[in-house]
């Protein structure tokens, strides 16, 4: 494994930063990130810089390697080469759980909720790393237990109110309708207090009006929590509307980066999605 250490001079492609974040240090930088499965280069020389409060999009045809990048960022896969800097720090060697504690939270393409826990418990479990009472406090229900449980209960309801889901608090997560399960997954990720939220196809399976609401929600989450969002999505309406920067991936390589307008008019992107026009 040839993991490059920090700050090897790499020619960085133009950054993908909205103007308001330009003067702040980026929340995430990927430098020459890549992974090979056997002989297959699933992701190759992936460079991206995400601003502190940016909503960025990662798009591309099926099998382009988008989810693989999420799995690299959260260390589900170990990158074969390249560096990931989170808040300027190299996250090489951290485990998936440690990555979360360092500030990256994610949702999954195929929903992964704690089905048999209630909606509220799904969220309070995600606050576990911020709680301090120990096993004895828990078994004996000492004052520390009640104090912290009260705090997380209130915070959970507060989070649920973002999506108007307070009434489901005591329902089993597995019994929720599909769209509500997707929203709960976002809330669970938010509950871990991330600085970067990775959303893997948040609008999948949602109808147009639900999608429109989700767009508003993602924006308001960014504004309230002052965090960055990187999302994978096939719904171009959503991507073009809320993303400030977009990276297009095809066969594991970035083929275009820029604002929604740039991307929409980029001939390479059109080719990747629609194919080349036949010469007359």
């Amino acid at each position: 494994m040839t993991q490059k250490t920090k700050l090897v001079p790499v020619s960085r492609e133009p950054a993908l930063l909205p103007e308001r974040d330009a003067d702040k240090s980026p929340v995430l930088e990927c430098i020459d990130l890549g992974i090979t499965f056997g002989g297959l280069k699933a992701v190759d020389s992936f460079n991206i810089t995400i601003g502190r409060t940016e909503i960025a999009g990662l798009i591309g045809p099926n099998g382009a390697g988008k989810t693989t990048i999420f799995n690299l960022l959260t260390k589900v896969y170990q990158p074969t080469h390249g560096t990931i800097l989170l808040n300027g720090k190299d996250i090489h060697g951290l485990s998936t759980a440690q990555i979360n504690r360092a500030g990256i939270a994610r949702t999954f393409q195929n929903i992964r909720l704690f089905q048999n826990l209630t909606v509220e418990e799904n969220i309070t479990t995600a606050m576990d790393t911020q709680m301090h009472y120990n096993m004895v406090d828990g078994i004996l229900h000492l004052p520390r237990y009640w104090r912290e449980e009260k705090v997380v209960h209130e915070r959970a309801l507060e989070l649920l109110s973002i999506f108007h889901m307070e009434k489901f608090a005591d329902a089993k997560a597995g019994s929720l309708p599909y769209g509500a399960q997707r929203r709960l997954e976002i809330l669970r990720a938010l509950a871990t207090n991330p600085c970067l939220l990775l959303l893997d196809e948040p609008a999948a399976g949602m109808n147009p009006s639900e999608t429109a609401e989700l767009m508003e929600n993602i924006r308001s989450i960014r504004d309230t929590f002052k965090i960055a969002v990187l999302l994978i999505e096939h719904d171009m309406n959503l991507v073009m509307n809320i993303c400030e920067g977009i990276a297009v991936l095809n066969f594991g390589r970035i083929i275009a980066k820029g604002s929604p307008d740039d991307i929409q008019n980029n001939p390479e992107v059109i080719e990747a999605y629609l194919g080349r026009k036949k010469e007359a």
């Binding site: 959260t74 589900v76 485990s95 998936t96 759980a97 440690q98 979360n100 504690r101 939270a105 994610r106 999954f108 992964r112 909720l113 704690f114 089905q115 048999n116 826990l117 418990e121 799904n122 309070t124 479990t125 995600a126 576990d128 790393t129 709680m131 009472y133 096993m135 406090d137 828990g138 078994i139 004996l140 229900h141 237990y145 912290e148 449980e149 005591d170 669970r188 990720a189 509950a191 871990t192």
Partner: protein, 362 residues
């Protein structure tokens, strides 16, 4: 509706079930004590009281591993064995130092629990770092190893303290310990523990069951319990929210082992002689049957099935040969009943008011 009743129904459903479980155990204890003191119980039933308490505690603690953590353990009797024999050794060596039987029993149970927890930690630390059914394989082997190890154990006590000998060659006897004139043997190798002063009591059994319930139920309702159940439901998501999987799995497994150890100590001190064969694979499976029959993750179900399945074979003694056969059939029926939709709808039709009945129970 009275005020207390209203308050009861305003509680969370899980809290209501927990309270009802405690209440049920207390009522059962009071009723049995009254019957016992009134002389309404025959010798056979009296002899079953302590074992039932032990098996209840075993079932609830195994439910923590199998139902709540979602890892299969096939060596729960092994932890009971560790607790039983360490408890017997402690109790027998403290005969003169601690004359009060209840205090000695408490010390023996605490020591039994500690040893079982230590062994659980040793078994669990390497295995619980893995994903998959490795725990089942390792605990299965562990149960067999413990039974064989205890078979080799020769322990005696005299004025100079404990004498412990491992009879690995199979040729050593109690005489090789070199006890002085006042010394006595506690464990005699394959013969097991003999001449143990029986100090277990029904009250101690009740306290054990209540303690087990408090520990398991309160742990489940705390942040650790939520994390443990989250890992059971989806370990990938659990990792993604920053949970330390190994820590929480070990917490559940070691707690479960410790409670089995305490139950073992009580069980061991209920009989004047005890062989390691008592805690073999069949016992592990028996406890697993209690848990599966009572419902995975269902604590009061474990209590009920442990009591029922301990009494039944005794009541049907003449059919004891078919006990394992009946267990297998019962297990298959339960699996059908819980997983087969046709079976479920059939039962739903039989019990049209099931939901309201549940409400009353809870």
């Amino acid at each position: 509706m009275t005020k207390a009743k209203k308050k009861f129904f305003s509680l969370k459903k899980t809290t209501r079930i927990d309270l009802a479980t405690y209440l049920g155990v207390i009522i059962a204890f009071v009723v049995m004590t009254v019957l016992k003191d009134g002389g309404a119980l025959n010798r056979k039933t009296l002899g079953l009281l302590v074992p039932i308490c032990c098996y209840m505690s075993m079932a609830v603690s195994l439910n923590l591993t199998v139902g709540i953590l979602g890892e299969l353990s096939l060596g729960h009797a092994g932890f009971m064995s560790v607790g039983a024999f360490s408890g017997v050794i402690v109790s027998q060596s403290l005969l003169t130092a601690v004359p009060s039987a209840p205090v000695r029993l408490a010390i023996a149970m605490i020591v039994g629990a500690s040893f079982a927890a230590l062994v659980g930690l040793l078994v669990g630390t390497p295995v619980l770092r893995l994903q998959g059914d490795y725990l089942a394989i390792v605990t299965l082997a562990f149960g067999e190893i413990i039974a064989d190890l205890v078979n080799c154990l020769i322990v005696g006590y005299d004025a100079s303290g404990l004498h412990i000998l491992f009879n690995l060659s199979g040729k050593k006897t109690i005489d090789d310990l070199g006890l002085d004139a006042a010394g006595y043997a506690i464990i005699k190798g394959a013969q097991g523990a003999t001449g143990t002063k029986t100090i277990a009591s029904f009250t101690a059994g009740f306290v054990l069951v209540m303690l087990t319930l408090v520990i398991v139920l309160n742990l489940t309702r705390s942040r650790a319990g939520r994390a443990i159940m989250a890992i059971r439901d989806n370990h990938i998501a659990a990792q993604s929210i920053g949970l330390n999987l190994t820590k929480y799995k070990l917490m559940a497994f070691v707690t479960s082992a410790a409670l089995a150890g305490a139950a073992g100590a009580l069980y061991g001190l209920n009989y004047s002689s005890l062989q390691s064969v008592k805690f073999n694979f069949n016992t592990s499976i028996l406890v697993l049957v209690f848990v599966v029959l009572g419902g995975l993750g269902n604590i009061w179900g474990s209590l009920l099935s442990a009591a029922a399945l301990t009494i039944l074979p005794e009541a049907l003694r003449q059919f004891a040969d078919y006990r394992m056969l009946v267990y297998a059939v019962v297990l298959i029926l339960v699996m059908l009943a819980t997983n087969d939709p046709q079976f479920k709808t059939f039962f739903a039709k039989l019990l049209p008011h099931r939901h309201s009945a549940e409400e009353k129970e809870g």
